[in-house]
């Protein structure tokens, strides 16, 4: 006997504004409560401590925004999927917006396993755009980029160059208001926006680590300022990609890009 089919939904949402300071784990709790508010018939785990069956994709660092977050939820009966996105958005705090809900096919692979890369918009503050541009060029030309990181108490060095699938300077940004504090050397409070695609496969690289790598390149080998003066500004994930046989797609495509809400800044 085969087990009964599992009913699963995949939800695409955005995270922007003040709520970007809420952790991945807390966002999970916010969704759990929102689903109860809209009376979504969530499936629960067995055992002493039943939990709703929710599974999130890649974690998003505290402080980063996203146009493309996903989560899967298992339900016991099929709800009205058409109206669910709007209902969940209403039940969620400002800054979390559900853009689409789709029914998953049987046997669909989990989000964690399926994402091959992500595209990011990263604002770099603290130095003029030409220095960032130079560091980007150095990074793209480098045969290898060694990054030292501490994981589980152990220091490991990895070549992260293969994780950079695409990298370009998108242009200057307005900068973050009142950013005098982190700016050094009296530089003007504007930044440089990068567009970058980072791999999520065997070699991975996080946006903050990319800035560290670029900072080292900008500083040169013997600089007294090893971060090159580069400071992370706004960081936003724009896409998560699934690449199969050279064809890239999103886990859930956005319904109609022209009607989406502009991402509003906090405050």
């Amino acid at each position: 006997m085969s087990p009964p089919p599992r009913l699963r939904l995949r939800i695409r949402f955005t995270k922007a504004g003040k709520i970007r300071f809420v952790s991945h784990r807390d966002v999970a709790r916010l969704f759990e409560r929102a689903m109860r508010i809209v009376r979504l018939p969530m499936a629960y785990s067995e055992g002493f401590s039943p939990r709703p069956k929710l599974s999130f994709g890649l974690a998003l660092s505290v402080g980063h925004e996203s146009n493309a977050e996903y989560l899967d939820v298992e339900v016991t009966e099929m709800p009205d999927v058409e109206s669910l996105a709007a209902a969940l958005t209403d039940a969620l705090p400002d800054g979390l917006t559900v853009e689409a809900v789709v029914v998953l096919e049987q046997g669909a692979v989990s989000l964690q396993q399926v994402i091959t890369s992500c595209t990011w918009r990263i604002e770099v503050l603290g130095v003029p755009t030409d220095r960032v541009t130079a560091a980007v060029a150095l990074a793209l030309d480098a045969p290898e980029l060694l990054l030292e990181r501490v994981r589980k108490g152990k220091t490991a060095v990895a070549d992260v160059r293969p994780a950079i699938l695409a990298l370009r300077v998108a242009g200057p940004t307005r900068g973050t208001p009142a950013r005098e504090t982190p700016t050094r050397d009296g530089l003007p409070p504007h930044g440089t926006e990068l567009e970058v695609e980072l791999s999520n496969e065997s070699t991975s690289l996080r946006p903050s680590e990319l800035i560290e790598v670029l900072g080292r390149l900008a500083a040169g080998p013997d600089s007294p300022e090893p971060d090159g003066g580069l400071i992370e500004g706004r960081v936003r994930r724009t896409h998560q990609w699934i690449e199969v046989d050279g064809i890239r797609s999103e886990p859930v495509s956005r319904p109609d890009a022209s009607t989406r809400h502009e991402l509003r800044r906090a405050s």
Binding site: K18, I19, V22, S23, A178, T181
Partner: protein
């Protein structure tokens, strides 16, 4: 009103848990900051995680925001990492709704639930850019107000606070608002100037019942004791009485409990089912000062729970009170609630009670409620021997405890946690050793049901508190408490399945210093704060040296303020305040304690005339004329005592501490036996 958000935002990536500074909670009221409105900033002087769930502040916050003439925001103490950045960048304390500087509000009102937060109170005032001394404030400064249980002895804070409110705040917050409205500066001057005449405002506030303005009273001393407290202005009351809300049904607050975006303590729906307690445990200040018992009607409880769960999406509700299993018809109410929760179609809903009665009835309710997790179950016998439990009037017989523990383990719980106080009046080493004996027997009972049964014993030092029968008792010294802890460590070391945890006796000493002092403590608290002593409930920030040094530097002896037994005739620093309890009732109860005489719960037995009901013309409001099944504090139980042993109070040794039962805070040391 201005906002510090543009300056704050770039700092947030650099601090731990930035979500606690962004507000945005469901239930938050973003009432427009109109300068014509009286503005309140309700502040909890500890972290957001500890302060947000505070029900008292949430209730007042809603009541004020419903008024047409006022508005309220909230604020919390920033953690030390953000504080350092704020001071560097000259950013003031801010509210989480509008990120308005706290100094721009007309009043900053603090909830004081624990004495060890006093230094944080000073830190918050200072971070707000307000002079820390009341005498230095002008029309440009907000009023600094305090309420909550600690204000039953506000004198250690008299230098720093402008207004103290005693008792239930639901009514009086409105009366204070109305007086403030009358004294607001003209619109043209606001918000720079807040009030037309600060002194005139304080004088009017001091005439509101239950409002105490320390600067309008003078305290004189006679050696280590207080000689007198007198009003400096004619016509002010010589006795300030607490406020009591007669009927909780009139105040179904919070109507929209705040739902935080990040995890906090007590992160669930909380519905208060009654206020007050008549069990009469003699160490318990909360039980004494909140009398009489006022129950919320069961139907209102059902409505508040149902609406609350549907609105918030929580899957757990706690029915709060000092002893919820005593709520009339508690079984029926919780059964209904569980069924309602399921009916809502949102999956399993669990109902929890903050404290469990130590008997099989209590466990039965817990089993019914807690369908989900069967982790640990907590009981609070408080003392290790029957003799001691009579002294503190916690009338739990050993067989009650064993039945409860047996019921718990037999119904699937694997761990039982037992709370005890040490340093209680007339405590002997036999009483202390009795704690270990109880634990050992509980483990043995558990092993009948589960081979991995374990018992955690959590021990706190007792701190005598104002307006309790133990207010005259000299607290155990930190050394004496440590000696008793060591006795327990030795006794439990080889007990398999017993884990011992204890509260740091040095923190107990600091709490003792702040609890029963007078105005001479002001410079001590100020010095501790100036020397960096903030977040004193967090062990990584606590150092007793700061306290003892400050006492010595100010010419004060710890002995006088903490370890000394008070005498019947002496003036206590809170004698000019009135918690509804006759001092002679408390003295008699203290004498009964020393004679090892217990008192039954007065809800279902004759009145002892403590003063709480008669003084306010109200009676205990209970929905049922009979005690709940299983009895309550001696009613319906056979309480034959063992042989009467005369007790003497030990000469000035000392004492104990409070119960800090907040597991998220530190200060507890653990030791696991082999």
């Amino acid at each position: 009103m201005t906002s510090v958000w543009p300056q704050l935002e770039p700092l947030l990536p650099r601090v731990q848990k930035p979500a606690r500074y962004i507000g945005c909670e469901d239930g938050a009221k973003a009432t427009f900051p109109d300068p014509e409105l009286v503005s309140w900033c309700f502040t909890y002087p500890d972290t957001y995680e500890v302060g947000l769930p505070n029900q008292g502040l949430q209730i007042l916050y809603e009541i004020v925001n419903e008024r047409p003439d006022a508005r309220a925001d909230r604020s919390y103490a920033p953690w030390v990492d953000l504080e350092e950045l704020m001071r560097q960048e000259k950013l003031p304390l801010f509210s989480v709704e509008h990120h308005t500087p706290a100094g721009e509000f007309d009043a900053i009102a603090f909830n004081l639930s624990a004495e060890l937060t006093y230094t944080n109170l000073l830190n918050c005032i200072d971070l707000a850019g307000v002079p820390i001394h009341s005498r230095d404030r002008t029309e440009r400064d907000p009023l600094i107000m305090v309420g909550g249980h600690c204000t039953y002895n506000p004198e250690p804070l008299a230098d720093f606070v402008d207004v103290v409110v005693l008792g239930d705040g639901e009514e009086v917050v409105g009366e204070i608002t109305e007086v403030m409205v009358r004294h607001l500066a003209s619109t043209a001057e606001r918000p720079a100037a807040k009030f037309a005449d600060r002194r005139a405002l304080l004088l009017d506030l001091a005439r509101i019942e239950s409002v105490y303005v320390p600067s309008l009273y003078e305290m004189t001393y006679d050696g280590p004791t207080v000689a007198a407290v007198k009003p400096l202005v004619e016509g002010l009351p010589t006795l300030i009485e607490k406020r009591t809300v007669a009927d909780l049904a009139d105040w179904p607050y919070p109507k929209e409990q705040l739902v935080p975006l990040t995890e906090v303590v007590h992160d669930r729906l909380n519905v208060e089912v009654f206020r007050g307690c008549t069990r009469g445990c003699r160490f318990c200040q909360a039980g004494m000062i909140t009398r009489p018992v006022r129950e919320r009607p069961a139907d209102q409880v059902r409505t508040m729970v149902g609406e609350g769960l549907r609105r918030t999406g929580y899957d757990e509700v706690t029915l709060t009170s000092l002893s919820t299993a005593d709520f009339s018809n508690v079984e029926e109410v919780v059964t209904d609630l569980m069924n309602d929760g399921d009916a809502a179609g949102c999956g399993p809903v669990s109902v929890s009670l903050p404290s469990l009665r130590v008997d099989a009835f209590g466990v039965g309710i817990a089993a019914q409620l807690q369908r989900a997790k069967r982790g640990g179950l907590t009981f609070a016998p408080e003392a290790g021997t029957w003799r001691m439990r009579q002294i503190i009037n916690k009338l739990i017989r050993e067989e009650d405890l064993y039945q409860a523990v047996d019921a718990a383990f037999s119904q699937g719980w694997k761990r039982v946690k037992l709370y005890f106080l040490i340093g209680l009046p007339s405590e002997t080493d036999e009483d202390t050793a009795g704690i270990a004996e109880l634990a050992k027997n509980c483990v043995a009972i558990g092993k009948k049901h589960n081979n991995r049964a374990s018992v955690t014993v959590s021990v706190g030092g007792f701190v005598p508190k104002p307006f309790t029968p133990f207010q005259w008792f000299g607290q155990n010294t930190a050394e004496e408490l440590q000696r008793k802890i060591n006795l327990l460590r030795d006794a439990t070391r080889r007990m398999r399945g017993v884990q011992l945890k204890w509260h740091d006796p040095r923190a107990t000493l600091a709490e003792g210093i702040a609890s029963r002092g007078d105005r001479r403590l002001g410079p001590v608290i100020e010095q501790v704060w100036r020397n960096g002593g903030v977040f004193q409930e967090w062990s990584e920030h606590f150092d007793i040296e700061r306290w003892t040094t400050a006492m010595a530097d100010n010419g004060l002896r710890v002995e006088d303020f903490v370890y000394r037994h008070r005498t019947e005739g002496e003036v206590l620093p809170w004698d000019h305040l009135w918690a509804g309890l006759h001092k002679d009732f408390l003295w008699q109860d203290w004498q009964d304690a020393l004679a090892e005489v217990g008192l039954e719960d007065c809800r279902w037995t004759p009145c002892y005339d403590c003063g709480a009901c008669t003084g306010y013309g109200i009676e205990h409001v209970v929905a049922s004329a009979t005690p709940p099944a299983g009895g309550s504090q001696g009613t319906g139980q056979d309480l034959t005592t063992g042989g009467a042993v005369p007790v003497t109070v030990l000469p000035s040794r000392p004492g104990p501490a409070p119960e800090d039962r907040n597991e998220n805070r530190i200060g507890e040391h653990a030791e696991v036996s082999a």
